[in-house]
Symmetry: C3
């Protein structure tokens, strides 16, 4: 794909070459994300960061990524675009805001809505989640994290054994990630979920048609065995017929330190799109794992910044300017020892 | 008027010389608004962007305009100023915030309230709408748009034939615009509205006293005939006795492509303060006009940025620095072909 | 204390030397806060400004302070962190955001919660109020204001006579301020409150144990007599058994111009943490004092900016760079004559 000036709406736009370009730039930007170097390739650029549903975390991640490159951000501050309540179309909202800024990030609860924004926009649009649809930057940062944690690259990730655990039916994260991993060869997918929450059949069929191995199971112990990556997701109790039903599943799929030590490959990494449900009984990845070396969930959110920085830099056509723009940061960042 | 250090509260502050200065600077800033040139005359300056009622669009327009000049923005993020719920006066809120920033933009639902903010502020205040009162920057961008679309200037706009259509009673936009147009000579106002929604008599009397022609009608076809500008507004159904009553008016005043082709001057421009009500039956300017060359509504919102940029630059005393501060932008903006 | 890289959670962290360093830097930054000089020691730095309860004023103060030093700010925009509603812990929220930014400011309704944020954060955390707990920057700006208004310094403030008036039971502001003043010698505390709203006994005992004089009274006239500082607070009617009960107290502790002229030292300064309740009958400091030279409440909020700027600069390790970074501001600020 041609990054410069393009919308980023779906993981399906990405081929291996695109991933290579994206991840090389992300790696280059890591010291900038950590506040160790400054980079101003987006000096003077303006982001319209439009979130039409609640998401502090993801909104701040895009916001921080754009600021780290020297740009400025105009945020929406409510969940509802006020003029839309008066009957305004996505077309009008998008065309108007696209005349104010240089690039837009859009999250919207309706599937397909971000495409409508893109169709009406004068500037590139990045999909930050359109309801049950796509959320491409999450899948990209997930893959980036796997490569980095496992010390693999795009040519050596073939044959990966990955367990996806939890609510595989409604979670757009695992759908996008599965599609992205299908670009490689011989991936072993262990899909661990209650029968009611299985991965949609069309995605399973697609993975098998591409030559990957898919094992579906309701048994967590069997599912995680020998996996290099265990990707946990939140059981979304609000989708169940009754809370009691949901509670039973929660019990089955909670991973704590004892479980990890007994049943998982000690070199396996634990991932999660976050937020975790940290309440007792429902915690997918227990708090007793917080200081465990294999818990990659916070390195995963850290990686979200650099992957989004790279997306911005590429879409704004600044790929060739990154190296020359790196400079010492003015302030002296001192991390807290934790 | 003296722009530097002044509050901008009403269109009545503006004379022809002021408009000339404002619009010349707005025109000069167009490449900056488009992200083609950078301008940092407000480097180090801080805007307090205070919106006490919902308005994503206008808030973002002021926000973007200030950022485009190199400034930084502190936004209010809710519709209610939390301390005001505890009994704080506009005086206190304004004086406190004015000690934090270099200029304020204020929108507030109560008429006269922005004047209260101005009276207590240490720094200039720009009125972004005080309920049914004034919204001067909207009228200014509307006039700027008319001149640009019609290739006229402040000396050749005399004699303009403009139709104002829809809810002329409650819309502060058409009130402010009518007052602003009264500065010129021999304007022909065609006021098209239901009898219940006529332009207030004091404004009509004022326009006639200034020597302008005012024709009031309920008939859209008669109203738009031979007009150079057709300024549509949303029928505000919430003001009517019954929804059925409102529906009838909506039907009468919807302009679509077929209507335009049959009844309007082909060189007429279609304007609207936005948001349009894009729902079928109620759309003042139908979606089938979206790609029509005479539909100026999005160029109108684009113009809002440069008019607000010019207001900021002038009120902050930077008029003479604009030329010298223009510089190439770092990033490479690439517009989407639409 | 070591400012660089430290959390600022409580006034109890501060000794006299720390106050001296903080206030010297605050004084140096006054022209920057007023927009007369620019300072970019935090160029490239990113603040996560997280407010989990309503507070436009304090949020904007931290926001403006960080921007004035050249930094950029990512704000939370709602009162509820959306992922927390799904069961996320303070630990997770803090660790994630701390990977996005270089420093965090946190306000949270639960006492002790900001400490939880600090414990999980990779970057320094400044407590902006944890429910009934601490709000250190408020006490620091209050002390800074007293020194400046009275033309005293940290060595000559000993023996100060200060009246604290109103709701001394629930107001965290007066608790923190009393603790901070206890660092000096021979302070005379006049605690004026209804019996039901007395200062907590442990704080009174602490002050006396440190050798200070504490006089508790319900009588405003006796309480303010001969005081150099009168620190009024809002009577929080929502805490009372009945509104009528609260109303009686409000009447007793309202200070207007006539009261000041009759009963207060003419050189006394009037302070208040704001917001005032400006409604008639309940106004702790009456609006008729607004132009009174001794009313220091707005200079107090102005001082909040410089004290917070100094906190940021010190915690980010930039103390030695401030002088060299000061430069003329680009724009020409012109204050409104009021």
């Amino acid at each position: 794909m041609q990054f410069h000036g393009s919308h980023i709406l779906s993981v399906e736009q990405f081929g291996l070459t695109d991933l290579s370009v994206l991840f090389q730039n992300a790696a280059k930007l890591e010291p900038v994300a950590r506040g160790e170097l400054a980079c101003n390739v987006l000096d003077g650029a303006l982001l319209g960061n439009l979130f039409f549903e609640p998401s502090t975390r993801t909104r701040m991640s895009f916001d921080a990524a754009f600021c780290r490159l020297g740009g400025r951000v105009c945020d929406t501050t409510g969940f509802q675009f006020s003029s839309m309540a008066k009957g305004e179309s996505n077309h009008d909202a998008s065309r108007v805001i696209s005349g104010y800024v240089d690039i837009m990030v859009v999250r919207h609860p309706q599937m397909g809505s971000v495409k409508e924004f893109a169709d009406a926009s004068l500037v590139p649009v990045i999909n930050a989640g359109d309801g049950p649809g796509e959320h491409p930057s999450q899948a990209l940062l997930d893959l980036y994290t796997m490569l980095k944690e496992l010390k693999r690259d795009l040519t050596t990730i073939n044959g990966l054994r990955v367990a996806m655990v939890g609510d595989l039916r409604f979670g757009r994260t695992v759908h996008s990630l599965a599609k992205l991993l299908s670009l490689f060869k011989g991936i072993h997918f262990h899909l661990v979920s209650p029968a009611e929450l299985r991965m949609p059949a069309d995605i399973v069929d697609f993975l098998r048609a591409r030559g990957h191995t898919v094992k579906e199971t309701t048994d967590l112990i069997a599912g995680v065995a020998n996996c290099e990556v265990i990707y946990a997701t939140r059981i979304q109790e609000e989708r169940f017929e009754s809370v009691d039903e949901a509670q039973r599943f929660k019990g089955s799929y909670a991973i704590n330190r004892a479980f990890f030590d007994h049943y998982c490959d000690p070199k396996a990494i634990l991932m999660h799109p976050l937020p975790r449900d940290n309440r007792s009984e429902s915690c997918e990845l227990n708090n007793d794992l917080n200081n465990h070396s294999q818990l990659a969930i916070f390195r995963q959110t850290d990686n979200g910044i650099v992957v989004r920085m790279a997306m911005f830099a590429l879409v704004m056509g600044m790929q060739d300017q990154i190296d020359a723009s790196l400079r010492p940061v003015g302030f002296k960042k001192k991390l807290i020892a934790v």
